[in-house]
Symmetry: C3
Subunit: 265 residues, 3 copies
């Protein structure tokens, strides 16, 4: 897709989130800064109906409860039925049994189109031996590109592993994205924002692998532009919003930094 | 009332919120920036008692659940009994049946003094044929001034419709407020902040129609002052808080931009 | 302990929070700015397990419910068993009976290592006649140093009373901290952030009285440095994060402003 940002700003897709209470404001605000419309609704009485009028569903288990998981399942079922893309941000998988079980419950009960997490979260979901320190990635022994590709194949989803390099695969293609800046790790919530941005790009591009790649590139580019003006996490976050707001497809095109790996037979 | 901002800062009224989880921090912080004291408490065991020591109650259904609605009813009943002004921000009415029903339940069970929403939310509440895209207004066919005035009359409340122009009516008077700046729409939560500001002004001015008008003017003026210094939503929000903090009645008086419409017989 | 900030940044302790929905993002972000890792998890199915992999537990009753209190008790029991420091921020005690009862329930059911609150919250907890205006301190009649010291003794905890001067006591030592700036009171959540910072310092320093003193000094120093660059609460908060991020033990050592009171026999 040629001008994803322009398309988002023209279509203003509604992005329904059922997410955590820590970064819920930033998920909403970053969605808006990219030009999409956020809506947050988790009550079981309305969540499926809200999904039904939306163009993407973003699920984030950062502060999950069993009730929230039930609402996620209701919304995801509607999304599946209406072919609305479902993004799952597997925050903290590998830290507690409950998170592992609830993430598995979601993946076994509904179809998730894009599964996102840091290296250890995705490794754990993919059945590797991995632990997560709260919501922070730990070092994993296995090859992340291999994990992403194989897990994408077995789950029929696009898999997005975020880290110093971001790995994206649909089971065939593998993209390695190198945009971004280390200051992005100095603030809480950039990972959650990324899930929202992926939701916005997937809402207007049916090629979810490309949409995820573009989302990570564009968000990373805004981070790079913001970082050079910032003296710490406070000013960085302010500048990040301004740079996203002032980003254009033209500007982004010149700064996209990704590699498509040859498919291994 | 002559110097509402000075009065808020002298009296420091406590503004009790039962609100949504997306913008709860900004509702609290904007209340504080205007000089009032925010408190958030939603547990059924304490919410009515907290309302009882407050000077205004702000209800916002942005991320409602049936339990939260029950707490709202408990608090509003106490507010009614003690003549504490109740503000309802009807976020997302017109998007799902549940929101429509819960908003109606509040309006039918307790007295709301000030009903606030965007054009499509208020139109829907007033019985018009209107839909809301998540929490975003859609175009309505009916005349907003007429809706505000008639709905104010039928509900015995002050009605506040926010949009490019804000319409305020108590069923007799109609104010059209033209302060504000389009950058206010680039961040999530300005609508929720407005409800908090209305709560603060209503806490010190028993003329709720005038209090709502002043709240919208003052908040819009801070937005105008912030916008000229800002290069996007990140810096805008920072500047908005600084401008509110440094606002005075004198400065605001010179910039208030509203019109009082002649009452039609 | 000589270089607490350096130690936090090297060890990156995980700080588990069960906290309120208003300032949860700032508690997480301030923890991160100091170099520790925040995690928020309140589901009863996982909270104790999350505590078990953490280095400190921070409990904050700002928007408590009875379910949240149950999760706090589960987590605190694990913390006690594993000798992980427990910080309780007694937000709003003195405002409603429910808060008073729930705070007492926590203190009677588990061991809290550090009890933090503003003057009226701690006075109320200590059995004095005190009221809190929502979550804001009111003037108390009793001597705060005496209250802190005696309550520390009777509760076998470090007691931290925050205000214009911060009082810290373990029942023997009494520290009076004079770092900080009045702009810190212009934003919501500095009190909650302080509890997180105390958690981070206590995670790496078993002398919780010294850890609390250092936390208050360092956070106050960042506030002082931020204030001189700021023109209101918006810019102050941005600068506060930047200053914390750029703080060093060397810089802090030169600016620490506290007094150790002689133990009275």
């Amino acid at each position: 897709m040629n001008n994803p940002l322009k398309t988002i700003r023209e279509r203003k897709p509604l992005i329904h989130h059922i997410t955590n209470w820590v970064t819920i404001y930033d998920s909403a605000n970053m969605t808006r800064a990219f030009g999409a419309l956020p809506v947050m609704a988790h009550a079981p009485e309305e969540c499926a109906e809200m999904t039904g009028i939306s163009s993407a569903l973003v699920l984030n288990i950062g502060t999950l409860t069993s009730e929230i998981i039930d609402s996620m399942l209701l919304s995801a079922a509607t999304a599946n039925e209406k072919k609305i893309p479902v993004v799952l941000d597997a925050v903290g998988v590998g830290a507690t049994k409950f998170r592992d079980e609830m993430a598995a419950k979601i993946l076994n009960s509904v179809h998730v189109d894009i599964i996102k997490g840091n290296y250890s979260e995705i490794a754990k979901l993919a059945g590797e031996n991995a632990e997560t320190k709260g919501v922070e990635a730990t070092t994993i022994s296995a090859d992340p590109e291999k994990i992403a590709k194989e897990f994408a194949k077995s789950s029929s989803a696009v898999v997005v592993m975020t880290g110093k390099e971001d790995i994206i695969s649909d089971g065939e293609r593998v993209f390695v994205v190198r945009n971004g800046h280390e200051l992005m790790g100095s603030i809480v919530g950039t990972g959650c924002m990324v899930a929202s941005v992926i939701g916005a790009f997937a809402a207007i591009n049916p090629d979810y692998c490309e949409a995820s790649r573009d989302a990570l590139c564009y968000f990373g580019i805004a981070g790079e532009l913001a970082a050079v003006k910032s003296s710490g996490p406070g000013s960085f976050k302010v500048n990040l919003y301004d740079e996203v707001f002032n980003l254009s497809d033209e500007k982004a095109r010149n700064m996209m930094n990704f590699e498509e790996k040859q498919a291994q037979k």
